[in-house]
């Protein structure tokens, strides 16, 4: 019981601790691909500390919701990220929410982020929230169709069960799995505000979405939101890892060695996926904002096709 609780606690701390590292790693690789030196991979930690130490400058008409929203966004994202199996499956609270609930938790975070964008009543906040609502309206059904496909293949929407099933030979190679992977990658790009949907590195660009919503935030509030964004990226990469490359994940009660191997493999998976993300982002240009629904709509169709193909 105590050990189980401890393992679950370690997982929660682990995802929180390495999320900024992943963001820093992706930035570093992108910089190297552009033949720049780039900041150190530890830079996101320094940024977070710096932001947390600064005072908050709040707009005059910001309400209590504006001040609590960052913590709610962070909490929902952190809980969701901690529920995705990382180095081991079947942890103590892994049954508290299945994949549908994890997606919905991210929806809660997005809801409050979009509200925070509307809060102060500036044009930039509104543009961000409005576009986020549009992108989410396609991305959320897309990921749910991906969930359907995976849940029907594995016979469960419980991530630990899915991970265990996908590691067996029974899962095999299927067209539906491939379609689901594509759908998840597209949605992950859209949800994490990556190129080609949004550019995480810019401010003051008329096509921006995520950065526009958080424009009014400063100091510790911004730090918490940035941390939540890193956690979300980590969550999506963990999700891809857990469903499509689940090998090496320890089972619950797998002993220290199992957990250690699982953790090392997990870090390796994150590294490979982060590298892939950086490569993809460097190779492609940003889209016009009204091309995005078509791009993400493709994921919705892939997900639906994946589900329907399972019946034949």
């Amino acid at each position: 019981m105590i050990i189980d609780l401890l393992t679950q606690g370690v997982e929660m701390i682990l995802v929180l601790a390495i999320a900024p590292l992943l963001t820093g790693f992706v930035r570093k690789v992108k910089a190297r691909l552009l033949r720049r030196q780039g900041p150190s991979v530890w830079q996101p930690y320094r940024d977070l500390l710096r932001l947390a130490r600064k005072e908050v400058v709040l707009a005059e008409n910001a309400s209590w919701l504006f001040r609590t929203a960052p913590y709610l966004i962070f909490a929902a994202t952190w809980v969701a990220a901690a529920l995705v199996p990382t180095f081991a499956s079947g942890l103590m609270f892994s049954w508290a929410a299945d994949l549908i609930a994890i997606i919905a938790l991210l929806g809660s975070a997005r809801f409050f982020l979009a509200l925070a964008g509307m809060e102060v009543g500036t044009a930039f906040g509104g543009i961000g929230s409005s576009r986020e609502a549009m992108i989410a309206s396609v991305a959320e059904p897309a990921i749910l169709m991906m969930v359907f496909t995976v849940a029907l293949i594995a016979g469960s929407s419980q991530l630990s069960t899915v991970a265990r099933f996908m590691a067996t030979a029974e899962a095999g190679l299927r067209v539906s799995t491939g379609l689901a992977l594509f759908a998840l990658i597209i949605v992950a790009l859209a949800e994490n505000a990556r190129i080609p949907v949004d550019n995480p590195a810019t401010h003051l660009e008329l096509t921006m979405v995520h950065e526009a919503m958080v424009l009014e935030y400063s100091g510790r509030h911004l730090a918490v939101i940035e941390l939540a964004a890193s956690l979300k990226l980590l969550l999506y990469l963990s999700l891809i890892g857990c469903i499509f490359i689940p090998w090496g994940m320890a089972a619950s009660g797998g002993g220290i060695t199992g957990y250690l191997i699982g953790s090392l493999l997990y870090l390796a998976k994150l590294g490979v996926l982060g590298l892939g993300l950086a490569l993809f982002e460097s190779a492609i240009a940003k889209m016009r904002v009204f091309r995005v629904p078509q791009f993400v709509g493709a994921a919705l169709m892939l997900g639906l096709l994946g589900t329907l193909l399972l019946f034949f």
């Binding site: 500390l49 947390a52 130490r53 600064k54 005072e55 908050v56 400058v57 709040l58 707009a59 005059e60 008409n61 309400s63 919701l65 913590y71 962070f74 909490a75 952190w78 809980v79 049954w95 508290a96 929410a97 299945d98 549908i100 609930a101 919905a104 938790l105 929806g107 809660s108 809801f111 509200l115 509307m118 500036t122 044009a123 930039f124 509104g126 543009i127 929230s129 409005s130 609502a133 549009m134 309206s137 396609v138 059904p141 169709m145 849940a151 029907l152 929407s157 419980q158 069960t161 003051l204 424009l215 400063s218 100091g219 510790r220 730090a223 009204f290 639906l304 589900t307 399972l310 019946f311």
Partner: protein
């Protein structure tokens, strides 16, 4: 049963008392006070029946109605559940009315009909024979019609009342035919007789079609929804809450009662019809809602979406039941009924909130609101909970029922027949789409109304509303959270209801560790709203604590940043229509034929540029406009008949007689 009937009797007697008393304040307090007491008494009785393990179903026969039948009333598990929903909504509306009713301009147009409306809805769910059912149904419709046209000075209200009256009569006519078919030529009008009789497949299918028309028009199924967004917002806000939150549920009750209880085994294709209608209704309803900038109309359109979600659940239950998959059918039906309860709580809450905004500012148009979170903090908080719940966000109740519906969708591959099997995932996609759009819709509703800067003087000078209204809103806000974190209790309460209809209930949830809900098996799926709520609260508090303890807690107020170009005019903010523009462009160009036109003034002209947006309601254009046109033309033609001579009238009468006799001769 006696308690319930006495409550109904009190409600029926209240109008007389209300009209007898001259003083407005006293009459208001009397009607809503006694209404509250009667609803609470009836609620206690209904809950007692629902939770009792005795297995008795109280029934009563009154010597009213048709002489050879009498009026049968019965309180079985299904009736008890819907009576709970009606009474809970009714009690909260009475509580809200105690405060809100004071601002009523013409209370005599509301007070007599309000208790009648409540009584009518209770009688519908209690009725145990076709005559009583139809009589109560029409009673409920007419009472609510009187409430809709209470504010008869506005042209819109009169039109809404007119459309509502036509649609309500049409719906009742369809139900009349349906019950006529069910009763058969012998006229067995009691529900027990109908249940026992065998119905031929063609007859049963016809009954289903008539029910989709009759109950569907009251509930707001697309394309029969047109009256709903006109009539619901036109009524006073607590009546809007009752109409949207409760009366649509009474329509769901009619559908469930007949299709699941009276008709017997469903045919395989019924589920396809219901699922398709439900999916289309869900997506179209939320898209319509997104296009609105009138707060109450947005909420009314959103009711259409939720009705679609409920019908998706019912359709799934029909599909599973037709193939004898009782556990899956129980899951789907539980999800639908759970959503019935949830929608009643959050939609009533949101209409109460809209009513509070209306009282405080006199505005329903979101383009003239904004910043109310500062001036109406409690209303804003309750409204926010309602928005989160209706957007199906965990840990609130809307998510719990939608999660169950998704679990039922995941049972789809168990179906043997290809039609429903392929339809179910597509409907799942529509359900996911509508859930995602709903979140956007309520970011808009809350963001434009309560956040941002005030867009008009009334919005800038509004004040918080009275305590009764706040109490009603907070009550439902608490219920939204409680039902969301303890869904297992609701599922267990629904057990006997579902068991009575599909022959099996969902597994008992209250024995699961940590109050988790496990619809099929632990390895398959589970969700624990309580733990998720605790985790989120803990994580948020910890984060706040850590940062405030070890990092900075300094805070300074300054003007908004806005990239260095803040503009003092509230017109520079995003408006409600502006917020919906991307979605209108993505979905609306197909669904609504939405067009945008920017007209720039010619160079040198100092006039403003104009943006014109045209959104067409295709349902109205395709289904209703031709009928209205045909009726108009026909009426014009028939108008000539008014000016005939007596000879021509006599020959017309003679001709009609001859034709009738001929028809009779040929027929027999």
């Amino acid at each position: 049963m006696l308690v319930v009937m006495s409550a109904v009797a009190v409600l029926l007697a209240l109008p007389v008392a209300a009209l007898g008393i001259g003083a407005r304040r006293v009459a208001t307090v009397l009607v809503y006070g006694f209404g509250l007491a009667a609803s609470l008494a009836s609620l206690a009785a209904a809950l007692g029946q629902l939770l009792s393990t005795a297995g008795t179903t109280p029934a009563i026969t009154l010597p009213l109605g048709l002489p050879w039948i009498g009026a049968h009333m019965r309180l079985d598990a299904l009736s008890a559940f819907f009576l709970t929903v009606v009474d809970l909504g009714g009690a909260a509306a009475c509580l809200y009315g105690l405060g809100y009713g004071r601002h009523e301009r013409a209370p005599r147009r509301v007070l007599p009909f309000f208790p009648l409306f409540l009584a009518g809805m209770q009688l519908v769910v209690l009725a145990d024979d076709a005559f009583t059912f139809l009589f109560s149904w029409e009673f409920m419709s007419l009472a609510s019609w009187a409430l809709v046209v209470a504010d008869h000075h506005k042209g819109d209200t009169v039109r809404a009342g007119y459309v509502y009256l036509i649609m309500a009569s049409f719906g009742t006519a369809a139900l009349l035919l349906a019950f006529g078919l069910l009763a058969g030529p012998e006229g067995g009008y009691g529900f027990a007789a109908i249940r026992a009789a065998a119905h031929s497949p063609a007859e049963a299918s016809l009954v289903l079609a008539l029910l989709l028309l009759g109950a569907g028009s009251k509930a707001g199924l697309v394309p029969l929804h047109v009256w709903l967004p006109l009539a619901h917002p036109a009524a006073p806000s607590h009546v809007s809450a009752l109409m949207s939150g409760v009366m649509t549920k009474v329509a769901i009750y009619a559908f469930v009662r007949v299709v699941f209880d009276l008709l017997g085994q469903p045919q395989w294709w019924w589920s396809m019809a219901v699922l398709t209608l439900g999916g289309i209704t869900a997506v179209l309803g939320v898209l319509y809602a997104l296009m609105q900038h009138d707060l109450k109309r947005l909420l009314a359109y959103h009711t259409v979406e939720n009705i679609g979600i409920i019908y998706i659940g019912l359709g799934l239950a029909l599909a599973f039941r037709a193939e004898g998959l009782a556990p899956a059918a129980a899951l789907a039906l539980t999800a639908a009924l759970f959503h019935v309860l949830n929608h009643m709580t959050f939609k009533s809450l949101l209409f109460f909130g809209a009513g509070a905004v209306l009282t405080a500012t006199g505005e329903r148009d979101m383009e003239r609101l904004g910043g109310l979170i500062h001036r109406m903090p409690v209303t804003a908080f309750a409204f926010l909970i309602g928005c989160a719940a209706i957007s199906a966000l965990p840990p609130f109740n809307g998510f719990a029922s939608e999660w169950l519906t998704f679990q039922a969708v995941l049972q789809g591959p168990k179906l043997a027949l290809w039609g429903p099997k392929l339809l179910v995932p597509s409907v799942g996609a529509l359900l996911a789409l509508s859930a995602a759009l709903a979140a956007g819709c309520f970011v808009k509703a809350f963001g434009v109304t309560f956040l941002s800067r005030p867009r008009s003087r009334p919005a800038a000078t509004a004040g918080e509303v009275d305590r009764f209204s706040l109490a009603a809103m907070l009550l439902f806000a608490v219920l939204c959270l409680l039902a969301g974190i303890l869904p297992g209790l609701v599922i267990d309460t629904l057990g006997p209801v579902v068991g009575g209809l599909v022959g099996q209930r969902m597994p008992v949830q209250s024995v699961e560790p940590w109050l988790t809900i496990i619809p099929i098996a632990a390895s398959h799926s589970s969700y624990n709203g309580l733990l998720v709520f605790v985790f989120i609260t803990w994580a948020a508090l910890t984060a706040a604590q850590v940062i405030h303890r070890w990092a900075s807690h300094a805070l300074r107020r300054g003007p908004a940043w806005d990239c260095g170009y803040p503009d003092a005019s509230p017109l520079t903010q995003y408006s409600a229509s502006g917020f919906a523009q991307p979605i209108r462009r993505v979905f609306g160009t197909v669904v609504f034929r939405a067009t945008e036109e920017v007209r720039m003034p010619p160079p040198g002209d100092t006039g403003p540029a104009r943006l014109e947006v045209v959104v067409k309601d295709l349902v109205w254009a395709v289904f209703y406009a031709p009928v209205a046109k045909a009726v108009g033309i026909l009426a014009d033609r028939l108008n000539r008949m008014q000016y005939l001579t007596i000879r021509k009238y006599l020959s017309l009468v003679f001709l009609a007689l001859v034709i009738l006799l001929l028809a009779l001769e040929l027929w027999l």
